[in-house]
């Protein structure tokens, strides 16, 4: 076991992937000499050369579109999008090409492209630097969407994403890049838990609290706080948003009968909507209360000084728990 930050765990995972398969190439803006604005690719160009770790011209459509061509040629491109809010110029290439090429070619062309996206807020950044665009991709058939939340997962999941023959949108909770954790660098990938499986990060009986990315830690904190209050939260780190690991969620919800879903992205059409709807379909008879969503507001990401009024935090999650338990909460007395 080594103690690594989440960022460094990604760096080591990428390094393993580059070493394991010489068709793996890393591409992105400033990822070479600089090692990326978050230094996730630090040292990799020096080690693997300029044709494996490639500084690209400033164009996201260009990055994704050339990655598609490289996939045609049998490469496994790993593209870094510098910040969440800069993925949209590449949206057409992702949605119309990356997601559809395997289907369109009737399986003849594999598209093992990994698109890494540092995402989410809470870092006091300027506009376009704190977005949570994951729902767009989870709604796009043909893509897999995964999110890591801790160093150990980051290390394994990035390698699994790269090894996957499907295109993977790989979301990294940027505000947790510097948080440390134990990583077993020697562990074999073959034995690792598949990236499509969710993890129960804190067991509990009263409420199932589902989230992903940076909010996993907040949810764990909420479980501790709730426990002091006599409420037992089962916290589940989704890890995969497409497909979602429903068996794990169902098993929990059938026990607790109460579901809270938290994410930073807005509520309307967020990932929480799908999970609430799907779990209501699957577990209706077990539900004691309507699933509760604790999300960012449906607003453009606000200026930094207001972000604490946008992002779900410990208190807002606990308020959601109160709501699902029918205890006094922010909606008490309001017609639901």
């Amino acid at each position: 076991m080594t103690t690594l930050t989440l960022g460094k765990a990604l760096n080591r995972g990428l390094r393993n992937a580059l070493a394991a398969d010489d068709r793996v190439v890393l591409m992105g803006e400033d990822i070479g000499t600089l090692g990326g604005v978050f230094r996730i690719t630090d040292g990799l160009q020096a080690e693997f050369g300029r044709e494996r770790v490639v500084d690209s011209p400033l164009s996201e459509a260009g990055l994704i579109g050339t990655a598609v061509g490289l996939a045609y040629r049998g490469f496994r491109p790993v593209v870094e999008i510098q910040f969440d809010g800069f993925i949209y110029p590449g949206f057409d290439q992702i949605v119309a090409q990356v997601a559809k090429l395997h289907y369109r070619s009737r399986g003849a062309v594999k598209v093992p492209i990994t698109i890494r996206v540092p995402f989410g807020g809470g870092i006091g950044a300027a506009e376009h630097h704190s977005e949570s665009p994951e729902a767009y991709f989870a709604h796009t058939a043909g893509l897999r969407v995964v999110v890591c939340s801790n160093p150990a997962d980051a290390h394994v999941m990035i390698q699994q994403a790269i090894a996957s023959d499907d295109p993977v949108l790989f979301f990294e909770p940027k505000r947790r890049y510097h948080v440390k954790g134990e990583v077993d660098e020697a562990a074999s990938l073959a034995d690792a838990k598949p990236m499509g499986i969710a993890t129960v990060v804190a067991p509990g009986d009263d409420v199932t609290l589902v989230t992903y990315g940076a909010l996993v830690q907040t949810a764990k904190d909420a479980a501790v706080a709730a426990a002091e209050d006599g409420v037992s939260l089962e916290v589940i780190d989704l890890r995969s948003l497409a497909p979602v690991d429903y068996p794990t969620l169902e098993a929990s919800l059938r026990r607790t009968g109460r579901l809270v879903i938290a994410h930073e992205a807005g509520q309307q059409g967020g990932v929480g909507a799908e999970i609430a709807a799907s779990l209501t379909e699957r577990c209706f008879d077990y539900l004691e209360h309507a699933p509760v969503r604790v999300t960012g507001h449906d607003i453009p990401y606000p200026p930094a000084k207001l972000e604490q009024h946008h992002l779900p935090d410990l208190d807002r999650i606990l308020d959601g728990v109160d709501r699902v338990l029918g205890r006094a909460n922010s909606l008490s007395g309001v017609e639901a």
Binding site: V25, E51, S56, P57, S59, A61, G62, I64, G65, T66, A67, V68, G69, L70, A71, Y72, R73, G74, F75, P77, P89, D92, Q93, A96, Q97, L101, H102, Y103, R104, S105, R106, G107, A108, V109, K110, V111, P112, A141, G142, R144, S164, D165, D166, G196, A242, P243, V244, D245, Y246
Partner: protein
Amino acid sequence: MTLSDRDATGLLTRPESFVQLVDETGTRRHDAEFDPWVADVDAAALGRLYRDMVIVRRLDAEGVALQRQGELGLWPPLAGQEAAQIGSVRALRDDDFAFTSYRELAVAWARGVAAEGLVTTWRGTASSGWDPAAHRVAVPQIIIGAQALHATGYAMGLRWDHSDAAAIAYFGDGATSEGDVNEAFVFASSFEAPVVFFCQNNQWAISEPVGLQSKQELARRADGFAMPGIRVDGNDVLAVLAVTRMALERARRGDGPSLIEAVTYRMGPHTTADDPSRYRDDAELAAWRERDPIARLLALLEGLGVDVAGLERETAEAADRAAAELRAACLGLVDPPALSVFDHVYAEPNSHVARQREHYERYLALFGDEASDQNGAGR
């Protein structure tokens, strides 16, 4: 719309500004720079180019007919662009890779795609007609310009693989306005990718004349991206062959990308769903008929003393056979089984797709036997 809008590239007024080896009357024009690139093209080779063009024109006509008869959902005719497509595709080596739009019937055909593969997409039985790896032709692209980036990426890979093969990207005049095409120029130039950008300026993007996309000759777009840009008579198969060979050779040498603007004309509608009489006049079409790529080559062959009557007869027979084959393949296509709708969404097993598939299978079963042979070809 004024004349200058319609013809901003100045083709009608400045024919001398492009590469031409065979003029409209079929006369060979000598060109010190480009002749060497086709020095090997003797009368027999010219005859084969003629044959190619006649066959694809015939296939194209059959496609239109099949559509008119309700056998195909749509057809995007290439008529008029045979020289541009055949001249360029015949310059390729087997291990080069072509990325096309929807209109490059001739490219797919020349790369050996079977008749069936040429019609599946338009009949709606599948979204692609062949295995790209087998023919080294990508799945045709409908999103305008997107394939320019794919060709560039592929070419970057060629370079990193130390291959001396090249990629070629086919797109239209309209496509030059899309960001993707310009970004492809940026990437190709930066990475000195062995890619040839082959723009068929057929004067129209549906109803929009090329002058709306550009007030400058499209070949000149290359300069600002540090590439050579060559303007060629796209109705002169020999000239197209020459410039494409030159550009490919440059790519193989490691000198990077080039842009070719093949000045040609779409003689038919944009697709069978289009009505060009709403936006262009007969006189324009008539003027372009004078520049027909096939007639011109036949005149050249005649000038070279070839028995053109025999060639015509023989070629027409071959073309009819190809057309009959196309028709038979088209009519022989069977509708895919219902559950194949779920095939290949992912390369790896996917719990969500599996579940939806299972649900839909049960749903079909409600209707009894109808659903019996609805299983797809596997995951």
